[in-house]
C-alpha cells in the first residue's frame, strides 16, 4: 500500500513540491516532519516553534536523570538538517502569524503544539501558597522559561503529590534524589540550589483509585524502589488478596502489580534491608483518597494539609470508578503537587477545539471540517503516552497527509510560497525567527557552560539571553 506512493509521484507529469508546515517542534512535530520527508521525495517541511529552542517536552518534560530518553534529539537533529526541512523558532502561531495565514502559504498545516496547560483540581485552597501543578514544577527544574520564577516552597517535611502516573514519580524522585546524582544531570542550576536547601523528607503519591489503576510504569517504579537514601512506605493491607486477582491479567499490569506487592509484603533482602535502614528519606503510595480541600495554615495563605475523601471502587480494571464512602481523612503537608494531567489549549479561534476532551476534533489526524489542516501528538489524542506513542501517532497523521497529496485532496496545482510569504509577514510584525543553526549556537553555549559544572549542559532559562547570544 505504501510503496504505491513512491511509484505514483514518478508518473505525475508536473511533480510539484508540496509545502508543508508543522506547528510545534516537540516529538510530534519532528516525527511528523520526519515521516513526510522520508516518504515524499519533494515535500518541503517547515517546523515552527514559539520558544527560541526546539524539542518541546523532550527538553522540558523528560526528567534530568533520564538522559537516554533524550537520545531522540539526535534523530530530530538529523531531520532538521535535511535540505527540505527548516526550523523557525521564536514564532508564536496565533499571535505572530495566524493559522489562516499559514494555510495561505502552505498546502498542508499540521498542528503538533501539545499540551501547555494542566488540569485543575477544582477544590478550595488550590491557590494557596505551597500548591503547584506538577507541570509547573517539572518546567521549573527543566528550565522552561515560563516557570523559572516558580520558587516552590520546599520548607516542609512532607510533600503530597496528587496522581500516580510517571510524572508523579518524576517529581517525587527529583524531590528525594541524592544531590550527588542530581548535580551531574542537566537540571537547572537554580532549581538544584533550591533542592539542596529543601527540607522535604517524605513524599506521598496519592491516588483516587487502587493499586490496579496506577498509571505509572514498571521501569519508573523500580527506579523509585531502588532510589539511594530512600525507603518505600507501602502498606501491605493495600495489597491483600491482589495476588489472586492478577493471575490472568495481561503481563504488563501483572508484573507492575507483582512488584508493588513484593515491595509491600515481602521481607527485604539483606542488601535492601541495609539500604532502607540507613535511609533518611521516604516515599509511599496512598490509595483510594480523593482530594476535597487544601487546608490553610493560621495565616490563611499557606497550605498546611489536605483533606481527602476515602473512596471505594466500583467496577474493576481500567474502568473502575472511585466513589466516596463518606469517610474523610486529613494529611499534614506544606507542599502539594497536583499531577492529574496536562491539558491542551485552543491555539487560534479559527481552529476547531473540543474543550471537554482538550483535543482538536479529528479523524486519523485530519482536522474535522478543516481541509488542509491536520494534527498530531497530544493535541490530537490527549496528553498521555510516551515517545513511542507519539511517534506512531505522528506517522499516522503523516500518512493521512501523504494520502491526501496522492489523491489530490491537497491540490498541488495551487502553488504555495511556503516560508517566503511567512517571512514577509513576520518581518512586517518585527518578529525574528531563530534558525536551527542559531539553536546550535545556543546548544553549544549550554554544553560549554555545563562542562564547567560537570553536567551535560547548563540550560539557559531566559529567552532574552538566548536571543542575545545569537544577536537577535
Amino acid at each position: 500500500m505504501f510503496s504505491s506512493f513512491r511509484f505514483n509521484w514518478l508518473l505525475s507529469t508536473a511533480a510539484l513540491a508540496p509545502q508543508i508546515c508543522v506547528v510545534g517542534s516537540g516529538p510530534a512535530g519532528f516525527y511528523t516532519a520526519q515521516h513526510l520527508l522520508k516518504h515524499h521525495r519533494l515535500a518541503r517541511v517547515d517546523i515552527y516553534e514559539k520558544l527560541p529552542v526546539p524539542f518541546g517536552l523532550v527538553r522540558f518534560g523528560v526528567a534530568p536523570d533520564h538522559p537516554e530518553v533524550k537520545n531522540v534529539i539526535n534523530t530530530f537533529t538529523q531531520t532538521a538538517h535535511s535540505d527540505r526541512c527548516a526550523y523557525y523558532g521564536n514564532v508564536t502561531i496565533g499571535k505572530d502569524v495566524m493559522v489562516k495565514e499559514l494555510q495561505r502559504a502552505y498546502h498542508a498545516v499540521v498542528l503538533s503544539y501539545g499540551a501547555e496547560d494542566n488540569r485543575i483540581l477544582g477544590i478550595p485552597g488550590e491557590n494557596l501558597s505551597g500548591v503547584y501543578s506538577a507541570r509547573a514544577f517539572v518546567g521549573w527544574y527543566n528550565g522552561l522559561p515560563e516557570n523559572r520564577d516558580l520558587k516552590p516552597d520546599l520548607s516542609s517535611e512532607t510533600a503530597v503529590v496528587l496522581g500516580q502516573g510517571n510524572v508523579a514519580l518524576d517529581v517525587a524522585r527529583v524531590l528525594l534524589s541524592p544531590l550527588d546524582i542530581l548535580r551531574k544531570t542537566d537540571i537547572t542550576e537554580g532549581s538544584l540550589a533550591a533542592i539542596a536547601c529543601s527540607k522535604v523528607k517524605r513524599v506521598w503519591l496519592v491516588g483516587r483509585r487502587g493499586p490496579l489503576q496506577v498509571a505509572f510504569t514498571i521501569k519508573e517504579l523500580r527506579e523509585m524502589i531502588n532510589l539511594p537514601g530512600t525507603r518505600p512506605l507501602l502498606d501491605p493491607a493495600d495489597f491483600t488478596g491482589l495476588g489472586d486477582v492478577i493471575k490472568d491479567i495481561p503481563r504488563p499490569r501483572k508484573r507492575l502489580t507483582e512488584l508493588m506487592i513484593k515491595s509491600a509484603r515481602e521481607k527485604p533482602g539483606e542488601k535492601e534491608a541495609a539500604l532502607w535502614a540507613s535511609a533518611t528519606k521516604e516515599w509511599g503510595l496512598k490509595f483510594q483518597r480523593s482530594p476535597l480541600e487544601v487546608l490553610p495554615a493560621t495565616d490563611g495563605k499557606q497550605a498546611r494539609g489536605i483533606r481527602m475523601a476515602v473512596t471505594r471502587l466500583e467496577g474493576s480494571g481500567e474502568s473502575a470508578r472511585a466513589v466516596p464512602t463518606g469517610e474523610v481523612e486529613e494529611l499534614e503537608c506544606g507542599l502539594i503537587l497536583s499531577s492529574i494531567g496536562y491539558r491542551s489549549l485552543p491555539l487560534d479561534s479559527s481552529i476547531p477545539f473540543d474543550p471537554k476532551l482538550g483535543i482538536i476534533p479529528n479523524s486519523l489526524g485530519r482536522v474535522q471540517g478543516a481541509p488542509g489542516l491536520y494534527c498530531s501528538g497530544w493535541v490530537k489524542r490527549g496528553p498521555t503516552g510516551v515517545i513511542i506513542t507519539t511517534m506512531n501517532d505522528s506517522f499516522d497523521t503523516a500518512q493521512s497527509v501523504l494520502e491526501d497529496l496522492q489523491t489530490g485532496v491537497l491540490n498541488l496545482s495551487n502553488s504555495k510560497e511556503g516560508f517566503k510569504s511567512v517571512r514577509s509577514i513576520l518581518h512586517s510584525r518585527g518578529v525574528h525567527p531563530v534558525t536551527f543553526s542559531d539553536w546550535e549556537k545556543i546548544d553549544a553555549a549550554e554544553v560549554a557552560r555545563g562542562k564547567l559544572a560537570g553536567k551535560p549542559r547548563e540550560k539557559i532559562v531566559d529567552p532574552q539571553e538566548m536571543l542575545q547570544l545569537i544577536s537577535h
Binding site: 522520508k38 537516554e68 539526535n74 486519523l364 513511542i388 499516522d396
Partner: protein, 152 residues
C-alpha cells in the same frame, strides 16, 4: 564491500579496500557473515548481512534499513521502538531476557509471546537466515479498520 556487505560512505576503491582490511577479517569473512531478514510493516523483506555479535538494532542502523522510527533511544533500554517478533523455535534459543528488557518490552505495541527488543538480541552464527517481523503499529491497525469502514 563485496566480502562482508559492509557499506561505507567513501567512494574510492582504495578506501573500500582499506576499510575491508581493517574492519573485517578478509581471510575468515564467511565466519562473520550472518544473513538476517526483516519483514517490514508494509510486508517488504529487507535483507542484511550482519556481523556476529552485532545487536539487531546495530544491524538496522549500520545497514541503513528503512524501518521507520526504529531505535529511538539508541539501544539504552529507554523505549520499545526496536521491538521485533521472532519465530518460536528461534525465540526459545535466544539468551535469557532481563527484567530491564521486560520492563520496556511490556510497553511495546502488539506484544507477542515471541517478542524481544532488537537492541538486546545479538547476532550469532547459528542465526544465519534468521527472519524477524517488524510489528505493525496500533495506529496502522486503526487505519485498516477505518479504510474497511469507508469501503462498505
Amino acid at each position: 564491500c563485496p566480502y562482508t556487505g559492509c557499506r561505507c560512505s567513501t567512494g574510492t576503491l582504495v578506501a573500500v579496500a582499506q576499510l575491508a582490511l581493517t574492519s573485517c577479517n578478509l581471510f575468515d569473512s564467511s565466519a562473520d557473515r550472518v544473513t538476517v531478514h526483516f519483514i517490514n510493516r508494509d510486508g517488504e523483506r529487507l535483507t542484511a548481512t550482519a556481523k556476529e555479535g552485532e545487536s539487531l538494532l546495530e544491524v538496522v542502523v549500520n545497514q541503513n534499513l528503512s524501518i521507520d522510527g526504529f531505535g529511538a533511544c539508541e539501544g539504552t533500554l529507554a523505549c520499545s521502538t526496536c521491538h521485533l517478533i521472532f519465530e518460536e523455535d528461534v525465540f526459545q534459543k535466544l539468551d535469557a531476557i532481563t527484567d530491564e528488557e521486560l520492563d520496556m518490552l511490556d510497553l511495546a505495541y502488539g506484544l507477542t509471546d515471541t517478542s524481544r527488543l532488537g537492541c538486546q538480541v545479538c547476532v550469532k552464527k547459528a542465526m544465519d537466515g534468521l527472519t524477524v517481523q517488524v510489528p505493525a503499529e496500533v495506529a496502522d491497525m486503526r487505519r485498516e479498520l477505518e479504510v474497511g469502514k469507508q469501503s462498505k
